[in-house]
């Protein structure tokens, strides 16, 4: 028996199908005689670069105890699983049974994003109000400029008329 750490990036669009899929994964692991010591469900994170045209991924990190002879089987199962964007199997000296920095970081960034979205919403509401105020003054400005333009055009017409008169003479 050896200690393994399995990191997976799962399709982020599974949503309600995620839990059944996770159970399916764990059944695959137990079929191959891998003992699931701990599963760290990191959650959906922004990827540093797109993988298979996905910009987000659901991270799962398993701490496993298993037989080296089954590694090839597990790798091939993960490779042909379309919901797994990427997988990494590492041998480790010691198994962890607590969440790593990643989970905390994901939660923090999620909170931040929510706060920002909330702020943006508030800002939008106020800016819409401000915009409607601005729009009133702008429409007035526009009417002024159109009037000016008309006057300018009239001047041109007069000038061309004078020129025409000169040509005729």
């Amino acid at each position: 028996m050896k200690n393994y750490e399995l990191a997976l990036i799962i399709n982020p669009d599974l949503a309600s199908r995620f839990n059944p899929y996770k159970e399916h994964l764990e059944s695959v692991l137990s079929e191959l005689d891998f003992k699931n010591i701990y599963c760290e469900n990191v959650g959906i994170r922004e990827l540093a670069y797109p993988i298979k045209e996905f910009t987000k991924g659901h991270y799962l990190i398993y701490q496993l105890e298993g037989n080296p002879t089954e590694i090839a089987n597990l790798e091939s199962k993960l490779k042909y699983d379309n919901s797994v964007l990427r997988h990494l199997l590492l041998t480790v000296d010691e198994l962890n049974s607590s969440d790593s920095f990643l989970t905390q970081d994901t939660r923090d960034s999620k909170k931040l994003a929510e706060e920002r979205a909330h702020e943006a919403k508030l800002k939008n509401e106020t800016s819409i109000k401000a915009d409607s105020d601005n729009a009133d003054t702008q429409s007035k400005d526009n009417s002024n400029t159109t009037q000016l333009k008309e006057i300018g055009e009239n001047d041109n017409d007069e000038a061309t008329e004078i020129n025409n008169a000169k040509d005729e003479s």
């Binding site: 990036i9 540093a48 790593s100």
Partner: protein, 65 residues
């Protein structure tokens, strides 16, 4: 410049690893970061694993596409 790093860390501690990346995502050489050879090897390995799992960018050019 010498930055203190914990004795034990891995690819998941991206906050630590990001200290050893330039703005463009390159690994800062030990000559600049002041890490010992052993520490630099560990940091480099962890960064490369984190890059594979899209926790850290390979380059800043990829995200702009």
């Amino acid at each position: 410049m010498s930055t203190e790093i914990p004795i034990k860390f891995n690819y998941k501690d991206i906050k630590i690893l990001k200290q050893f990346l330039t703005e463009t995502g390159k690994i800062i050489p030990a000559r600049v970061s002041g890490l010992s050879a052993q520490q630099q090897r560990k940091v480099t390995k962890a960064i490369k694993v984190a890059r594979f799992l899209a926790l850290i960018p390979y380059t800043d050019k990829q995200s702009r596409i």
